[in-house]
Structures are given as C-alpha cells and as structure tokens.
Amino acid sequence: MTIAQSDASRPQRAARLRRVALRPDILTVLPSGLVLIVFVYGFILWSFVLSLTSSRIAPVYDFVGLQQYALLWANDRWIQSLLNLATFGIVFVTMATLVGLVQAVFIDQKIRAEGVIRTIYLYPMAISFIVTGTAWKWMLNPSLGLERLVRSWGWESFRFDWIVNPDMAIYTLAIAAIWQSSGFSMAIFLAALRGIDGEIIKAARIDGATTWQTFRSIILPLLRPAFFTAIIVQVALALRCFDLMVAMTGGGPGFASDLPTNFFYQFAFGRSRLGFAAASGIMIFVMVLAVMLPFIIWELRHERRRER
C-alpha cells in the first residue's frame, strides 16, 4: 500500500505502477503486508473507533466522543492498576537490569563451567509466565511455602506473607518477573562486555587506573547501548505483563496487584463493556508506543549507519 502510494504520488504513470506491482518481490510482501495492515493497524483503528462509542456487549457505532476516556480516568480501579504498574515496573526493571549486569560482570571473569551457568540463568525465559506464576505462588504460600521452610530452620517468628498482603502483593509479582527475565539482561550485558576492546582496558591499567575506576569510567559508558536495550525490553515486558499476574495473584488481594492489562481483559471479556474496555486498550497501546517508537526508530537509524 505504502508502495503504491509513494509511487503514484510521483509524476509517473499507471503502466509503471502495474509493472512494479507485479514484480515477484512485491507480490511476496504484499499479501502479508496487507494482512498485517488490517490485523494490526486496522484493528487498532477499529478499537479506537469502539472507544468513542457507548458499546457494551455488542459494538454499536454511536459517537459519544471521549466519554469512555473520561469514565476511565475517573475510575479508581484504573488509577490503582496504573499505580500498581508503576510500582511493579520500577522495581522489576531496576532489579532485573542490576541483577543482569552483576551476573554478566561475574560471568566475564574467565570462570569455569560458563556454559552451564549461562544455561541455568536463562532457562526461566523458556518457561511460560503461567508456569512461573504457579511455581512462585506455591513457594510464597504463607502457611506451606518458604515461610514454613525458614521457620523449620529455627526462625520461628519468620513472616513472609507478601502474596496475601495488600501492601506487598505487587512486589511478589516483581520477584517472579525478575526470576523469569533477569537472565535476558545478563545475556545482553555479557555480549556487550565481550565486545569491548581489551586494549582499552589494558591501556587504562598501564595509566594506573584502579579496577573500579576502569569499570566506572571506561566499561560502564561503553555499556550504554546495552543498558538502553535491556531497559527498553524490560519496560515493554512490564507494560504487557498479564499472564504472570493472572496465575499468581489474579490481581488481588482485592485490586492490590491489579494491572491495566487485567483491567482491559475483565471489562472486554468478563463484563462485556466493549467501549470502555477499548478505551483502556488504546491507553495501553499509547503507553507502549511512547516507549517503543523511539526505540524502533533508533534501531533502524543505527542499522543504516552500520551499512555505510
């Protein structure tokens, strides 16, 4: 579509257009391109249109303006889910990044059994969030899980009931998410560390820099792109987090660990308030876009630079 338009906008004619449109490479991309334009862009637009209507169980195309958005932002549960997301996202992204960095730095010390250790650090990434949630829910079970284990070691007053504690439940999601995906930032940081020219570090040493100075003033700045990638990917993971919450807490106790994705799901498929749910879906899209669009553009620019 973009192809046809950008060609037609030139002072050029139908014959050429036809010749171009029938080229095999374009014929190949066109069908799936069109399908994606419908299923991604068309559907986003459709969701947006729905969010401007009063649709409940079935779509009705009456135009009520931004009424659903006004309702959404006046809804306490929505605000709560956003605050939960902020807490979850900040804790998860910070910790997963730091843990990944520490792991990568230590793995990069010419250690033994590196392959085995890397395999163990990354295996949770192969597991679904539903399984991860199921496992951690059991471990954090206040009467039978880790709490009892520690008490059995003699610390009788030990309490670890976060998963049923409204103030702490959101942090249990962060723990499980860190477990699941910190290995990913480890892989990113390790690849970046391995890409650093050893000569630079040697030179710094000869100039008398201490290990810490070398790390802080030479290695860390060189890791900036890795930080960027790891953080963006994890922010995107946090924004989309849904399965883990469903399996671990179901958003509870009450709405203490509810997330926007669950808010959307409940209103779209549980309570059949399509217009309202669509408005929350569009807000989630806007949040993800705000994070990802600069990243995609940066990536593509970066790629062009490399080609030159």
Binding site: T28, A187, I282, V288, I296
Partner: protein
C-alpha cells in the same frame, strides 16, 4: 564488583598479596554466581519435589523436604484426571490442542517470514526501511489494542472459539518476528552469491528456493524455536479467543491451578505445571543456542 575484576590486578603488588587478592576475588565470584544458581533452580527443585509428594506429606513437611513416600499419582492425575472447569479430563487433551494449533502456526509464520525477509532485502522501491518498520511495529503492539476487533472478526468468519482461529491468529501475529529474523539474515548474505544465478536467468523464487533456503537453515531453526516457544507459552490469545475443550494448554493449566475448590491439590498443580513447561524446556536444553539467538534478536529487533 571491584574485587571480582581484580583477577588481573596490576603486577605492582607483591606476589603473595596478588595471589591472596586473586583468591578472594575467585571466592567472591563463585559465591555470587552460586547464589544466583540457587535462586534460579530453587523453584524448579521445589516444583519437582512437591509433585512427587502426597498431600499429607505436603502438609507435614516443608517445600524442600524429600517426598516420603514418593508417589507418581499427582502426575497421572494431572495428565488424565485433573479438573478444568467442570470437566475432569486432565491436561492431556489440551496438550494435544496446543500441538495441533502450534505446528501449522509455526510452519506458516516461519515460511511467510522467510519469504518476506528475502523479498525485503531485494526490494528496489523507495523507503524499504519504512516498509520494514511498518511490519516491525506489529511485533510491539500490545494485543489489548487489537483483541476486541480480533474476537469480532473471528466470529464473523466462523472461527470464534476454535483452534483453527487461534492458529490463524498466531500465524499472523508471528509474521513481524519471523520476517525480522529472516531479513537480518538475508542482509548478511553477500550479493555475489545470487549474482551468478541472476546472470544465468534464474528468477526470484528460483533463487529463493535453490540458493537462499538451503543456506538459511540456522535462521529457520531460530524462527521455528522462537515461534514455538511463544505460541506454546501464550495465554492471552488462548484465554480470550477459545473456550471450553478448545483451550490451549496454558489456559487449561491456569484453570487447574486457580479454579479448584476445596482442598487445593498442590502436588497436582506442580505436576501439571512441569508437564506444561516440559516441551519448551526440552527444546531449550537441546537447542539453547538458537533459542537465545531468537530471544535477543526477537526482543531487540522485533
């Protein structure tokens, strides 16, 4: 951190001091690495131990106590008797659902992605990057923004709640990923490779089938593994777009774990969770290299 990097400390210090600080560095390094090994393995160990225990054993022991006596009953229950909603048929038929749905979805999306990726590196028209970016954005779209229209559309074309509908959805939303994988691979293929064939008059598809496909096995493996893992582990699409006996395995697992009434059979939950995780775990153990490649490419590039 500072001590750890001291493995290659300056040679200025005396030999013994250097050796001692090297030893401290090693201990710290392996200590930290060992701590994280325990952190990652603990849930898996707990799951396995719990899955072989009787409920009485679970109520009297701790999560790390050994099964006494060990039993495989939770496993057989999880596989063929556990209740999912009102039906008590175990995980096995939902397992089959996911296989039936995932195999075509993985195949179709990988093939289309390979073709797309190749075509995108051959395109001569303006803004090839914009076209790719347009496709790529599909990989980052949160599905909440498309789910309602998607459910309505599947209803209109008669695929509501079915495995076929789910397979279609996974095929389509997998294309941005598989295209990105293939494209980055074909970008690295030197144009000389196809020049000779072009001179000989081989066409676009001929070159794709006889030159490009054979050399692209590694990226096809990456693509298949990435797609299989994603589709197998999916919950959102499965939960929103299928119902009842058509549900995929993760939806069934969540039902087993979160809807059981009365005494919760934690041993069965753990056995079911391990069963659900097994295919992707096995794939990871045997093809971890490809899995990680897909992971980094998939998240970094789309």
């Amino acid at each position: 951190m500072s001590v750890a990097v001291s493995a290659d400390i300056p040679k200025l210090k005396s030999a013994t001091a250097a050796r001692r600080s090297k030893l401290v560095g090693r201990i710290l390094t392996y200590g930290v690495l060992g701590f994280f090994i325990l952190f990652y393995l603990l849930p898996l160990v707990v799951m396995i131990l719990t899955s072989f225990k009787t409920m009485h054993d679970i109520e009297t022991g701790t999560v790390l106590s050994l099964p006494n006596p060990p039993t495989i009953e939770p496993w057989t229950t999880a596989w063929s008797k556990a209740c999912i909603g009102v039906e008590c048929v175990g995980l096995h038929s939902f397992y089959r659902n996911t296989v039936i749905m995932a195999v075509p979805a993985v195949g179709i999306s990988t093939l289309i992605g390979a073709l797309n990726g190749y075509a995108l590196t051959q395109l001569q028209f303006p803004y090839p990057r914009a076209v790719f970016g347009t496709i790529l954005l599909g990989a980052f779209t949160p599905y909440q923004a498309v789910l309602i229209p998607l459910a309505k559309t599947l209803g209109h074309i008669g695929l509501a709640g079915s495995l076929a509908g789910l397979a279609l959805v996974h095929s389509i939303y997998g294309i941005p990923f598989t295209t990105a994988f293939a494209r980055s691979f074909f970008l690295s293929v030197p144009p000389e490779l196809t020049k000779a064939a072009k001179v000989d008059g081989a066409g676009f598809f001929r070159i794709f089938v006889s030159i490009m496909l054979p050399i692209s096995t590694p990226i096809l493996v990456v693509s298949v593994i990435y797609q299989f893992t994603n589709i197998w582990n999916d919950f959102l699409f499965g939960a929103a777009l299928t119902y009842g006996s058509q549900a995929p395995v993760m939806v069934a697992l969540n039902n087993i774990v979160n809807t059981s009434t009365g005494e919760r059979p934690y041993n069965v939950h753990m056995a079911a969770a391990i069963l659900a995780a097994l295919p992707t775990l096995v794939l990871y153990v045997f093809a971890g290299k490809y899995f990680i490649r897909g992971l980094t490419m998939g998240s970094v590039k789309g």
